[in-house]
């Protein structure tokens, strides 16, 4: 067994994690993934037998908050596991080696594990000019294209890699594009959010490890396990929404009582994420619970759906604070004026026709 690569569980055991903790972790993971009790056995089995999954994690046009979120995975054992169940062979934020030594690390993975390694991407890829993002003298696009050629699957972390995020907001000066728009032929999992919730990130990794296949994705490439429900449908303020109890201005009486933030521009009704269920940072809170409306950070193009404190986006080209209602009302008034004008003109120009009454008593024939 000289080439024996220790399984994830062996690995943990070696690190002093007890069987009990290990099973507890598997159960938590199963719950996150929405699995039945039988799923737990599957996870346990997978971890007991599989070698650590080699992972190359690239940073392109990003802010590193996806990495930051990742290390916040909350279940105590998760932090440890996230570091160890995969073999994080290239991760610029955490890795010891720099420069040439760093580059060698991911080249080694590509050589040693063709078809087996996962490419994880944090950040978008500039297309206007490749030189807008270079690492080691090569462009993001060159690096990515080479790395995905022999990978097993691609995980796009966060809104940047999934949809371009803030740098792709109008006018997108660098031509920033998400991963799925610049590569083809490999499955891409869009783990949305700005950043994604730590436990969602951990959950996706566990899914890949456990079932050895891509999780079910929604129409926008997001894993259904975490993105099939609107924030609005799992929001604990929902009862206030249905009751028509709204915060009318920040820190007003309604805000102090936890009313619904709909009228402060909450995008919960148009946003798919697990914030209401898993919540943030070990279930401490989520934006709405802390008084701020959802800004829709797990949706494509959410930056251009603003202003944030308005229920619907601005109608482009009509200036700030111009909503569909303002345009509509304007058109309505114009229409009313038009109608009035038309009525007056009618009475003038068709005067003859209108006053062309049949003579009193003359017979209008009908058959």
């Amino acid at each position: 067994m000289e080439n024996h690569v220790p399984s994830f569980y062996e690995d943990l055991k070696g690190k002093g994690v007890s069987r009990r903790d290990f099973l507890k972790f598997c159960t938590t993971m199963a719950a996150f993934l929405g699995l039945e009790a039988s799923g737990v056995t599957q996870i346990v089995k997978a971890f007991e037998s599989k070698p650590r999954l080699p992972v190359i994690w690239f940073h392109f046009q990003e802010c590193t908050c996806c990495s930051e979120s990742f290390i916040r995975a909350s279940h105590p054992i998760v932090a440890d596991i996230v570091l160890n169940k995969i073999s994080l062979d290239y991760q610029e934020t955490l890795m010891a080696a720099s420069g040439v030594q760093a580059e060698e690390a991911y080249k080694a993975v590509m050589q040693k594990y063709p078809g087996e390694y996962i490419v994880m991407v944090e950040g978008s890829i500039p297309t206007e000019n490749e030189a807008y993002c270079c690492i080691g003298g090569r462009s993001a696009l060159q690096i990515l294209e080479e790395a995905v050629k022999n990978c097993k699957a691609v995980v796009a972390w966060g809104n940047c890699a999934s949809a371009g995020c803030v740098q792709a907001a109008s006018p997108n000066p660098t031509g920033a594009k998400p991963v799925h728009k610049v590569i083809s032929g490999k499955p891409v999992i869009n783990v949305q959010g700005c950043p994604p919730i730590a436990d969602v990130m951990a959950g996706v990794v566990v899914h890949l490890l456990t079932f050895d296949r891509i999780p079910q994705l929604d129409g926008l490439g997001r894993p259904k396990a975490f993105y099939s429900r609107r924030v609005h449908d799992t929001c604990y303020r929902r009862a206030n929404f249905d009751a028509g109890l709204f915060v009318e201005s920040f820190d007003d009486d309604g805000a102090k009582r936890g009313y619904c933030l709909y009228k402060m521009g909450c995008k919960g009704p148009v946003t798919y994420n697990s914030c209401g269920i898993i919540k943030w940072n070990d279930g401490v809170s989520y934006p709405i619970q802390s008084g701020h409306p959802c800004i829709g950070c797990s949706e494509e193009g959410f930056w251009d759906n603003g202003p944030f404190y308005q229920h619907l986006p601005e109608v482009a080209g009509f200036g700030i604070e111009t909503t569909a209602d303002k345009v509509g009302l304007g058109l309505g008034i114009a229409t009313a004026v038009g109608i009035a004008g038309h009525a007056i003109v009618t009475n003038v120009r068709k005067h003859k026709e209108i006053t062309n009454e049949p003579e009193e008593g003359s017979k209008v024939e009908t058959k």
Partner: protein, 240 residues
């Protein structure tokens, strides 16, 4: 200029199903616009109370959804009637495929909208411009149903809304769908304003009883118009 003492004949233009459809439709649209507007910008009706004792906003949405279903099926029915109803309700009136329809549209614009001349428009059912506008509104109906049910698919697990689930990713996310749905509401409002005005306008000018036609079904049409209409019909059938 129309001679007021020409002989008129009663024509049964709108069959019962069309009339019933029309008023259900008008009712639904009115309800949907009012409830929709409230959904988009709810008034601050309630304060200082607990959620558990209230459900008014939920009710407004409920009414919106009920009306939406009614509106949808009513619309489906009208589409069906476009294939089986009388000649005035047939679909081919609405889609301007014939040159004569385009000509008439030009005439209507000249006569009724710009009021440049006082030529007489012959149509018995809708005039061509009206038909075309209705056709466009049917497309808006369709789009409104697609966007509405698309959004609704996230809130419902029943079959019908689920059929529309693809709409949301297709249009690039819920926000865009919602914005479109909201903008289209204004399309309905503008249409209704102009539509109602023009119905009254035609009644006022033409005196064919157009307003009541949507209640009783009958219009009063000039004999010569009917004759020309019949001749045209014959010519058409002969061609074939």
């Amino acid at each position: 200029m129309r001679n007021r003492s020409v002989p008129l004949r009663e024509v049964h233009v709108w069959e019962m199903p069309v009339r019933v459809y029309h008023w259900i439709n008008a009712l639904c649209i009115t309800t949907l616009c009012i409830t929709g507007y409230i959904i988009g910008d709810p008034p601050a009706l309630m304060k200082g109370t607990e959620a558990s004792f209230n459900y008014w906003f939920g009710t407004v949405r409920f009414i919106h959804f009920i009306s939406a279903f009614l509106f949808f099926f009513n619309f489906i029915f009208r589409t069906y009637w476009g294939f089986v109803g009388n000649e005035f309700s047939r679909w081919y009136n609405f889609i301007p495929l014939k040159k004569s329809q385009w000509q008439e549209m030009g005439d209507v614009i000249k006569v009724d909208i710009l009021q440049l001349t006082n030529k007489k428009i012959d149509s018995i059912g809708h005039n061509s411009l009206a038909s075309f506008i209705y056709f466009l509104t049917f497309l808006i109906f369709l789009l409104q149903c697609l966007t509405g049910f698309g959004m609704y698919s996230a809130m419902s697990s029943s079959f019908l809304p689920k059929v529309f689930a693809w709409i949301v990713p297709f249009l690039g996310g819920d926000m865009h769908v919602r914005q479109l749905h909201h903008i289209l509401m204004w399309g309905f409002i503008l249409f209704a304003m102009i539509h109602v005005y023009l119905v009254f306008y035609h009644d006022y000018i033409e005196r064919r009883g157009v307003t009541s036609s949507m209640i009783g079904g009958w219009k009063f049409i000039e004999e010569d118009v009917i004759e020309r209409h019949d001749q045209n019909e014959e010519a058409e059938t002969k061609k074939k």
